[in-house]
Amino acid sequence: MAQERKKRRACVSQGECVACGCCVKVCPVGALEVFRGLYASVSGDRCVGCGRCAGECPASVIGMQEETV
């Protein structure tokens, strides 16, 4: 039986994001991008859940979520 594992990942509130790109600059694994100047988007595969983007986001619209993988 496959074992369930919890993974922390960043989650952006896209409607409130100002697309400044601060999170992109601090992400150590390049898991974030600003999508068409509208909002930041997280690549869940790459995100290691370090939370640096959440700490940097000036609008505080990035939260950390735990997911079962």
Binding site: C20, R36, G37
Partner: protein, 197 residues
């Protein structure tokens, strides 16, 4: 992460502010901070300027982050609301056009050159020591005084919110950032997409 040339643009931002203390006519260079973001947003449909080239953002990041001049608290919810952001954009526009109107009056000869920099849209700070005459019309200098006031005011606001909240809190309500995001929305639509898991 490897540094790129544009990561040093905070020096240009700092130099711009410093030059305004020596010769106000350098204030005209600030138009680059208006036209480049608009050009990138219109031509490419991105906020490339905010994301890469904004010297002011880098400067705030440096002062508030590396130099520790920020409390690093969350910005109040109302300050990141659309009402405040769009309201500030409209207010900024109104004040900008008032500055352009004053410039027009000087060009038209209806008003004398005011050698002051208006800070926070209220305080008229004497700035005659940075004006050494111009070969152009006095209106050229009037625009420089007005525009430098706009740039200095936004820098002061940026520094205040940097100290109180997170380093780049200014980015949340920056009128250029709001405007370029609106342009991107008009150009690209509002295609919310699922984040990949």
């Amino acid at each position: 992460m490897k540094k790129k040339w544009y990561d040093a643009l905070w020096i240009a931002s700092l130099a711009y502010l410093a030059l305004g203390f020596f010769n106000i006519l350098f204030a005209w260079l600030g138009l680059l901070c208006f036209f480049i973001p608009l050009f990138i947003a219109v031509a490419k449909g991105t906020k490339g300027y905010c994301n890469r080239y904004c010297g002011r953002g880098q400067l705030l990041s440096l002062l508030g982050g590396r130099l520790g001049l920020s409390r690093k608290r969350d910005i109040p919810r109302w300050m990141r609301s659309k009402v405040f952001r769009y309201g500030f954009l409209v207010f900024f526009f109104v004040m900008f056009f008032q500055m352009l109107w004053n410039t027009y009056l000087v060009f038209a000869g209806a008003q004398d050159l005011g050698q002051v920099v208006t800070l926070l849209w209220t305080f008229k700070v004497p700035w005659q020591w940075a004006y050494h005459g111009t070969v152009f019309h006095a209106g050229v200098a009037q625009f420089a005084f007005g525009f430098y006031g706009v740039m200095l005011t936004s820098t002061v606001l940026g520094l205040i919110t940097m100290a109180l909240f997170k380093p780049r809190s200014w980015c949340v309500y920056c009128p250029m950032g709001t405007m370029t995001q609106l342009i991107c929305r008009a150009k690209n639509g509002k295609p919310f997409r699922e984040e990949s898991h």
